[in-house]
């Protein structure tokens, strides 16, 4: 077992509570996975409540779901999947020792997709919902059938998508930090752990969206024959 090694023997970013770089990398990965498990439980509480109410008030929830426009949800799903691809490519670039410019390119592209997602949601979904008066608690003017149940559905729609959007915003913040770190030459094929674990987080946020899209937008069938 080595004594405390001279500083030069460790790459930048090495944290001294660890004994080896390998230990640090493994700890970082395990830490992120544990964090994602907590996020699953966090969203899970809402998913569970949503599922229970959907079972109890199915017709109202279908009516509510039909107030959402699948085309925007689907576009956003596509946008996020692309962003996961660009994120993976950013990590791959670091892994294979590409120039920092290339890493930054993919990171910025990921951020653009993320921002596009948020922009689409804000402008074409939430703003329109507000104008149409189907935002519970803020502007509720719905007069159609099953009003109480539809309000419940819209509550869950907004809570869940806004919680998700908050996680996206946090992800954009993380990506900004990563861009700066890359620009400062912090990463190399030996050390790209922050990129890797941030990538895990980003993919997780993407997966949550896919579940949200399926559960919120696609229930009840919308097409003739279904």
């Amino acid at each position: 077992m080595s004594e405390l090694a001279a500083h030069g023997a460790h790459p930048p970013g090495f944290a001294h509570q660890f004994e080896t770089v390998g230990q640090q990398r493994e700890a970082g990965r395990l830490g992120m996975w544990v964090f994602l498990v907590t996020e699953i439980l966090f969203f899970g509480g809402m998913f569970a409540s949503y599922t229970i109410y959907r079972a109890l008030h199915y017709e109202s929830f279908v009516t509510g779901s039909h107030l959402l426009e699948v085309k925007f949800g689907a576009t956003n799903t596509y946008v996020l999947i692309c962003s996961s691809l660009t994120m993976a490519l950013a990590i791959r670039s670091a892994q294979t020792g590409k120039r920092k410019g290339q890493i930054i390119f993919w990171l910025i592209l990921t951020m653009i997709f993320g921002a596009l997602f948020l922009g689409l949601k804000l402008r074409f979904e939430w703003y329109r919902d507000y104008v149409d008066g189907i935002v519970p608690g803020i502007n509720w003017a719905y007069n159609g059938p099953h009003a109480p149940g539809v309000q419940m559905f819209m509550c869950f729609y907004f809570f869940m998508t806004r919680l998700h959007a908050l996680h996206m915003v946090a992800g954009l913040g993380v990506l900004t930090v990563l861009v700066i770190m890359t620009a400062r030459n912090k990463f190399s094929p030996e050390y790209y752990a922050p990129l890797e674990i941030s990538g895990l987080y980003w993919h997780f946020v993407d997966i949550v969206w896919i579940f949200l899209f399926a559960l919120l937008y696609l229930i009840g069938g919308r097409y003739p024959g279904s």
């Binding site: 008030h57 199915y58 017709e59 059938p145 099953h146 109480p148």
Partner: protein
């Protein structure tokens, strides 16, 4: 002199026991059963507590450290002991579970011919409504030896209806009915408490239960102000809100006839089959579209805000009186 000492000692213990009861009066058909289980649980708790305390105390004395550098003696893990003190507590738990669950399941089903009384809890009082008509606030008169079923709802927050002497308790929730039953076995006066924190005057939402002989109870029902029965009050409401214009008595109206409807399973438009009980009728009055029947149009308006919980109970009593499988009342 010693004998005198012992005698006066025993007398004070008796006096103390009378002054310091360890359980409330056992005044219902299930109370003794619950008390026996409680006694067994207390016995087990005492046994294991004394066992652990004494073994610890014994070891504390016998193995106390006698010199500063003394060391312990070798002992080996014993699979027998480990299995023993895993299996024996497990067996005790199984016995307790079976015993308590049997009692609980048996106590959960009210006997068929119960006297029905309706309870509305609201901050911070209990409204009790007998089917025959009399109303009470924070007081409940019941006959001894007869099963009584309480159907309860809350007008605001969650309350809990608790009669310690009967060993019964049930949460009273807004927006739905819950029920509890008991059969009183001793005449007397007993506490009634709210046992779910419900706001400022939670501790004043208390009252009394008066268990009377059947003769006294009949006299109490008949005495006092002459009131209509619950079903009669419901009939007045039925006419007042013109329900009969759709719910035509002989059938053929825009809504189903209500005669004989109570207690029957009905298939709803959503596909599920539900028995027409208090909850369904309440839902039909407040959120009609959630329980509408397939062969009729969804045109019943909601009466939320126009009919309160007490009036709903009256209407329910009226619907029941139009013929049902379980006709209750004296």
């Amino acid at each position: 002199m010693m004998i005198g000492f012992i005698e006066s000692g025993l007398n004070s213990v008796r006096g103390a026991a009378a002054m310091f009861p360890l359980q409330p009066p056992a005044a219902s058909s299930i109370a003794e059963g619950v008390d026996k289980l409680y006694l067994a649980l207390t016995g087990i708790t005492l046994f294991f507590s004394v066992l652990i305390f004494s073994i610890i105390f014994y070891f504390m004395v016998k193995y106390r450290r006698r010199s500063d550098d003394e060391i312990a003696a070798e002992t080996h893990t014993s699979m027998v002991l480990e299995l023993g003190w895993t299996i024996i507590p497990s067996l005790i738990c199984v016995v307790l579970f079976v015993w308590s669950s049997t009692l609980y399941v048996r106590n959960s089903r009210p006997p068929a011919a119960s006297t029905e009384i309706f309870v509305i809890g609201k901050q911070w009082m209990w409204h009790l409504q007998h089917s025959e008509g009399p109303r009470e606030i924070n007081e409940l008169h019941v006959p001894v030896g007869v099963p009584v079923k309480l159907t309860m709802t809350s007008q605001d927050v969650i309350h809990d209806f608790y009669i310690p002497a009967f060993r019964v308790k049930k949460d009273v929730l807004p927006g739905r009915y819950s029920s509890v039953w008991f059969q009183a076995t001793e005449t007397g006066t007993y506490h009634l408490f709210c046992a779910q924190y419900c706001g400022t005057n939670h501790s004043e939402m208390i009252g009394w239960v008066y268990v009377m002989t059947p003769t006294d109870y009949a006299a109490w029902l008949a005495g006092g102000e002459k009131t209509e029965s619950l079903a009669e009050q419901g009939q007045r409401l039925f006419i007042q809100f013109d329900c009969g214009s759709c719910h035509v008595a002989g059938g053929g109206g825009r809504g189903p006839s209500l005669a004989g409807l109570y207690g029957k399973p009905e298939k709803l438009a959503s596909g599920e089959t539900r028995v027409v009980d208090e909850s369904l009728i309440r839902q039909a009055i407040l959120v009609p579209n959630s329980v509408h029947m397939p062969s009729y149009q969804e045109i019943m308006p909601t009466y939320q805000g126009q009919i309160d919980e007490e009036q709903i109970l009256q209407l329910i009593a009226y619907v029941k009186s139009l013929g049902s499988e379980e006709r209750n009342g004296k």
